[in-house]
Amino acid sequence: MSDPGILAVTKAGTDPVRAQLDGPSGTRPRRLISRRNIFLYGTLILVSLYYLLPLYVMIVTSLKGMPEIRMGNIFAPPVEITFEPWVKAWSEACTGLNCDGLSRGFWNSVRITVPSVILSIAIASVNGYALANWRFKGADIFFTILIFGAFIPYQVMLYPIVILLREMGLYGTLWGLVLVHSVFGMPILTLLFRNYFTSLPEELFKAARVDGAGFWGIYFQIMLPMSLPIFVVAMILQVTGIWNDFLFGVVYTKPEYYPMTVQLNNIVNSVQGVKEYNVNMAATILTGLVPLVIYFVSGRLFVRGIAAGAVKG
C-alpha cells in the first residue's frame, strides 16, 4: 500500500477523465496479423512473385533438356539438371553468320563497355566540373542544348552520326561505337556531375584558388578524391546502360564486333534450325547477368543513379 508506484498506476487507470486527457502514451501497439497487414504484405508478396516469375522460368528452362521442355510445364523445376545448354549457349550457339556462341558477343561487349565507360565519365566529369565551378559565358546555352538533346529520339541522329563517323574513318569500328556511347551518355552524366560539384562547399574551391591551384590542379587534387561516390553512381549507370544497348551496336558496328545483346537476339531469333529453348534461355540469362550482378551488388547506388536522372531531367 505504501508503494507510490502502484498507487500512481491504479490512479491513472481508474480515473477516466485523466486517462482521456493523457491519451495512450508511446507508440500505438501493432498487431502483427491484422487485416491491414495481410492485405499489405499479401499484395506486395504477390507482386514480387509476379516480378520474379520470368527470372525463375529463365533459370529453370535453361537447366532442362529439350525433351523435358517439350513434355512438361514451363514452371516445373527440372527433373534432371543439365548444364549443357549453358555450355552450348556460351560456345556453340549459332547466329545466322557464325557458330561460336555468345562468348564472342561477351568479349565484344567488354571491349565496348570498358573504354566507353572510362571515356564518357572522364569527359562528363570534367564538363560538369567546368560548369559548376568555372562558369564561362555561353556555358548555360550549350548545357541546355545538351539536356534537351537527351530527349531527341536517337533515330533522328542516327544517320548524321554515320556520316560523321565515316568522315573520321571510325564507322564500323569499336572506337566509333565507343565515341557514340560517350556522346549519348554525356547529357545525363554531365548533369549528374554538375549537380554534385555544385553541392560541394564553395569555400573549398575558393581556398584552393587562393593557394594558387589551377583548373586541373583543383580537379585532380580536390574534386576527384571528394567525389568517389558519384563516380561509382556514374559507373553503374553507364555500365548497365552500355551493356544493354542494342540500337547503336547494330547500327555502328560490323557483325564481327556485335555486342552481346545483338548476338543474343541473332541467336534466339535466327530462323534456321530447331528452336532450342533451353539454350536460348541460358543465353538470355548470360546476357542479363552483368547488369543483374551490378544491380544486386550496388543496391541503393543504382537507385540513386536513376533518381539523379529523374530529379531534374
Binding site: 529520339p153 533522328v156 544517320y159 554531365t190 548497365t240 538470355t284
Partner: protein, 298 residues
C-alpha cells in the same frame, strides 16, 4: 598591365574550362543540334541509297502517311504509349503507396520490383516471348490444368500482339515509376498526414485529393521520362515479335531503322524520324515552358 593580368578579357579568359568543355560544345552543336537540323532538312529530299540534296517538298511525308506500315506503327505506338502510361502510373503509384506504409523488408520488395529495369529490353523481350509461347508457355500450363479452352496467345494474334508487348514493357518499366513515386511520397511533409488524420479524412481520400495534387511535379517529371522512352520503343519489339505477325506490331522507331539501313530509302527514314521528333517536341516543349518559364515568374 596589372589590370590585364588580373582580368584577361575575352576568349582567353577561363581558357582551361573552355578547352575542357569542347567535347560538350561539340556534342551539343554538331551532334544534337546539327544532326537534328540535318535530318529535318534531308527529310525534304528524295534521298535513296545516299543522301542527295534534291528537294521535293513534302513528298516523303505524303508517302509516309499513305504507307500502311507507318499507319500501323503509329496506331501501335498510340495504344502502347497510352496503356503503358496509364498502367505504369497506376500500378507504380499504388505500389509506392504500399511501400510507404512503414513496412518491413522495404528494401527487399523494392529490389525485386526494380530488377527488371536493370535488364536489356532484348532480354525482357526474349523472356516474354518464351513465357507467351502458345505451345509450351503459360497458355499450355493453364490448359494442362484442365481449362482446355483457355486462350492466351497474344504474340500470334495480329489484333492483340501489341498488348503482349505491353505486358513485357510494363514488367520492365513499372519499377522505375514506383521508385520515382516513392521518392515523391517521401518528399511530402509528414504533418499533412497528421492534419488529414485529425480532420478524420479517410486514407484513400487523403491520397486522392491532397497527396496526388501535391505530387504534381513528380508526376510531370515521370511523365516526361516515360513518354520520351515510349517513343524510342524499338529493342523490345525487335526481340519479342520482330514486328510480326506480318506488320501488326511495327513501331515508328523500327520503321526508321528498316528504311534507313535495310530498305535503302533514306528519305522515308528521315521523314519518319522527323515525325518522331515532332511527337517528342509535343511532350517536351509544354513541359519546358512550364518548368523553366514558371521559374522566371517566381
Amino acid at each position: 598591365m596589372a589590370s590585364e593580368a588580373k582580368r584577361p578579357i575575352g576568349l582567353f579568359r577561363n581558357l582551361a574550362a573552355k578547352i575542357a568543355a569542347i567535347p560538350m560544345i561539340l556534342t551539343a552543336l554538331v551532334v544534337f543540334l546539327g544532326g537534328t537540323l540535318w535530318t529535318v532538312t534531308y527529310s525534304f529530299t528524295n534521298s535513296k541509297l545516299l543522301p542527295r540534296a534534291d528537294f521535293v517538298g513534302f513528298d516523303q511525308y505524303e508517302r509516309l502517311w499513305a504507307t500502311e506500315r507507318w499507319q500501323v506503327s503509329i496506331e501501335n505506338l498510340m495504344i502502347y504509349g497510352l496503356c503503358s502510361l496509364v498502367f505504369s502510373f497506376i500500378i507504380g503509384f499504388v505500389l509506392a503507396a504500399l511501400m510507404d506504409q512503414k513496412i518491413r523488408f522495404e528494401n527487399t520488395f523494392r529490389t525485386i520490383i526494380l530488377y527488371p529495369f536493370a535488364l536489356s529490353f532484348i532480354v525482357t523481350g526474349l523472356v516474354w516471348q518464351w513465357l507467351l509461347n502458345p505451345d509450351l508457355g503459360i497458355q499450355n500450363v493453364i490448359r494442362s490444368l484442365g481449362f482446355t479452352n483457355f486462350d492466351f496467345n497474344p504474340l500470334y494474334n495480329p489484333d492483340i500482339v501489341i498488348y503482349g508487348v505491353l505486358i513485357a514493357g510494363l514488367w520492365q518499366g513499372t519499377g522505375l515509376v514506383m521508385v520515382l513515386m516513392l521518392a515523391g511520397l517521401r518528399g511530402i511533409d509528414g504533418d499533412i498526414w497528421k492534419a488529414a488524420r485529425v480532420d478524420g479524412i479517410p486514407m484513400w481520400k487523403t491520397y486522392l485529393f491532397i497527396v496526388i495534387p501535391m505530387m504534381r511535379p513528380v508526376f510531370i517529371t515521370t511523365l516526361v521520362i516515360i513518354a520520351s522512352g515510349i517513343v524510342r520503343l524499338y529493342d523490345l519489339i525487335v526481340a519479342q515479335t520482330s514486328g510480326g505477325p506480318g506488320i501488326s506490331s511495327e513501331v515508328p522507331a523500327k520503321y526508321v531503322y528498316d528504311y534507313m539501313f535495310q530498305g535503302q530509302n533514306l528519305g522515308q527514314g528521315f521523314a519518319a524520324s522527323t515525325m518522331m521528333l515532332l511527337a517528342v517536341a509535343i511532350v517536351i516543349i509544354p513541359w519546358a515552358m512550364l518548368e523553366f518559364g514558371g521559374k522566371k515568374r517566381v
